[in-house]
């Protein structure tokens, strides 16, 4: 085990080379619905139990199923209303289980990125070959669904190995959602030396972290999103920022929660200098326009 993941260098937030987004936008905004399939009876992983109850774990399984049966349509209608294309973090087995959902996302030209095959299969304990096979299978499933390989990866259930990001880069990916170290994209060291970036995917605004871990009220979540936006939008005048709202259809789409989320989306999309986009478009734009300057600035080891 290492004492540092080694994926990035320390890099002061102040005085970085200025990021500009298309059309002079100050902030790149993306919404990342996690569209997940959890198995009722997954094989045991020795490092992490899938469910807190013996089989069948009805409470945990059934609320997640709610996201697909009920929540997905609710969030889709909302994103349509505000002109937002989702960037979906996909348990790729869902292409087989629930193709109706896949069709809806494809019809809207949403971005598909991989979130593994099932959210009940953890990376822990996999050999490098096993992990590579799992990631590749998930990428190829997306390629079959939408005609191109995914650019982004969020490891299933945020379960990682020391080489997760290296493997994904070697398989052709260009960005990771697994690092929470910054409010701007940053270059990521991968062992192949490929051009690869982190695109901010906020855990602090992730609805599951908010509702399940931090136990926050829906209306306060709405205020948190607006407060976060206000600050990042203001800072975006100095250098462009990224704001992501990661969602889960079994959390944000519950009837007592959706209106707070809607208010926040209306607020954000009501501002002029927002680039409403996808994770992949942010990664591509950053790689084409800002990556090299960032790398040079990091290398200089300048003072803050």
């Amino acid at each position: 085990m290492k004492d540092d993941p080694g994926y990035y260098d320390y890099w002061p937030y102040s005085n970085r080379p200025k990021i500009t987004w298309p059309n002079g936008a100050k902030l790149a905004f993306w919404v990342a619905p996690n569209i997940e399939f959890y198995e009722l009876n997954p094989p045991k992983n020795p490092s992490r139990a899938a469910w807190p109850h013996p089989y069948p774990a009805v409470p945990g399984y059934s609320i997640r199923d709610y996201g697909n049966r009920v929540g997905h349509m609710r969030q889709t209608k909302l994103l349509d209303k505000y002109g937002i294309r989702g960037s979906i973090s996909l348990s790729t087995a869902l292409c087989t289980h629930h193709p109706e959902i896949i069709d809806m996302c494809r019809e809207r030209d949403w971005e598909f990125f991989t979130h593994g095959i099932y959210n009940t299969r953890y990376t822990y304990g996999m050999t490098e070959a096993q992990e590579r096979a799992m990631i590749l299978e998930s990428m190829e499933t997306i390629e079959r669904a939408v005609g191109k390989l995914p650019a982004g990866y969020l490891a299933p259930a945020l379960s990682h190995s020391e080489v997760t990001i290296d493997l994904f880069a070697e398989l052709g990916g260009t960005y990771t959602c697994d690092l929470f170290h910054d409010d701007q994209p940053t270059p990521v060291h991968v062992r192949s030396g490929r051009r690869f970036v982190s695109v901010p995917y906020s855990l602090e605004l992730n609805d599951t972290i908010v509702y399940v871990v931090n136990k926050i009220e829906p209306r306060r979540y709405g205020r948190m999103i607006k407060d976060s936006f206000d600050r990042l939008y203001a800072e975006g005048s100095t250098s462009g920022t990224v704001m992501c709202i990661p969602t889960h259809n079994y959390q944000v789409s519950c009837p007592h929660r959706l209106s707070a989320f809607e208010e926040a989306l209306e607020y954000i999309t009501g501002h002029p200098d927002v680039w409403v986009t996808t994770g992949r478009e942010i990664a591509d734009y950053y790689l084409a326009h800002h990556y090299d300057a960032a790398l040079a600035d990091i290398k200089s080891g300048r003072k803050a």
Binding site: G125, Q130, S161
Partner: protein
């Protein structure tokens, strides 16, 4: 490719960990069909109402000396024996809280559905007598909050537990409950089959929908009824430490959203799950009153029992394809 060594602290998984035997269209089990809510035939409630409001009050007994088998249930004893603190605070619900809540329901013109641990009617005949007089719909809620229907429970013992619970409630109230709620919404692999065999028509354990659906058992279909855990008083106030006022706001927001959705997509259900020991407290009751007054003031609301809502839904599932959807 680099041959960098991986120093994993994790025990290895075998290649079977990458096999997916239930990878197929629909669900990874055979209990119900995959179906998105918006793909189903719209439901119409009696008198053209839009939103069925199901106020569910759980009346529970937590023994002082729980066996905790096969698992411990949430809300039970958590201090060294004798845990008077949690025992009496739960018992408060049955001595004081329930009466305060029933009065609030009556004031708001709400007919509640009562989910009752059968042991309670043996322990507290005065309470059982009042419930019998009120003739509110009763849902069988197993024996006590120490009888978890979870994996590891012997099938014969579980069948006996179910029979005993239903028989006790039937004797106390003069009619057989048609609904079932497992404590903690936990189930063994056999629970749905056993409750169906015991005569239960609907159950409230699976929180995967906002509307009823057909749930397959060895003895025919049960109707799965949507009793939300996310908006439950215990989840919001006790487990998530949110204020009583926030709970009331969440109920109101849910009511508004579901009413708006019902106007576009067909009838919806708002369940309001309460526990006598949670919302029966003096500092919380006014928020229950406020939430109920708000909900009941909305045009298009139909306050009904779980059994009535279930029957109205079943009456509209005209073909097998739909009832089994």
């Amino acid at each position: 490719m680099s041959t960098q060594s991986v120093t994993s602290p994790h025990p290895p998984v075998d290649d079977g960990y990458l096999d997916y035997p239930a990878h197929r269209y629909g669900m990874d089990h055979d209990r119900y069909a995959w179906s998105m809510l918006t793909d189903r035939k719209p439901v119409v409630w009696p008198d053209g109402k839009k939103l069925a409001v199901w106020v569910n009050l759980s009346l529970e007994h937590f023994p002082l000396n729980p066996a905790g088998k096969p698992v411990k249930l949430p809300g039970g004893m958590s201090m060294p024996y004798p845990d008077l603190r949690h025992y009496t605070l739960r018992d408060y619900g049955n001595r004081v809280g329930v009466y305060r809540l029933l009065e609030a329901f009556d004031k708001a013109g709400v007919r509640p559905t009562l989910a009752i641990n059968a042991l309670l009617v043996e322990r507290y005949p005065q309470l059982a007598g009042l419930i019998r007089e009120r003739s509110n719909d009763v849902i069988a809620h197993s024996w006590s909050m120490d009888t978890a229907h979870a994996g590891g429970l012997d099938e014969v013992a579980e069948a006996e537990l179910i029979k005993c619970s239903i028989d006790t409630l039937t004797t106390a109230f003069g009619r057989t409950p048609s609904g079932w709620l497992s404590p903690g919404k936990l189930e063994s692999p056999n629970t749905p089959d056993l409750i169906k065999a015991a005569g239960i028509e609907y159950f409230c354990d699976w929180v995967n929908d906002d509307m009823p659906y057909a749930f397959h058992t060895k003895h025919g279909d049960l109707t799965a009824m949507p009793l939300s855990t996310e908006i439950e008083d215990r989840s919001v106030v006790v487990e998530n430490f949110q204020s009583e006022q926030s709970w009331a706001e969440q109920v109101m927001d849910a009511c508004d959203l579901l009413l708006a959705e019902a106007n576009e997509q067909g009838g919806r259900i708002l369940s309001i799950p309460l526990h006598a020991w949670v919302m029966g407290q003096p500092h919380r009751i006014k928020h229950v009153e406020a939430a109920l007054a708000y909900v009941m003031s909305k045009p298009g609301v139909w306050n009904a029992s779980a059994g009535e809502i279930c029957a109205a839904w079943r009456g509209q599932q005209t073909d097998d394809a739909n009832i089994n959807a």
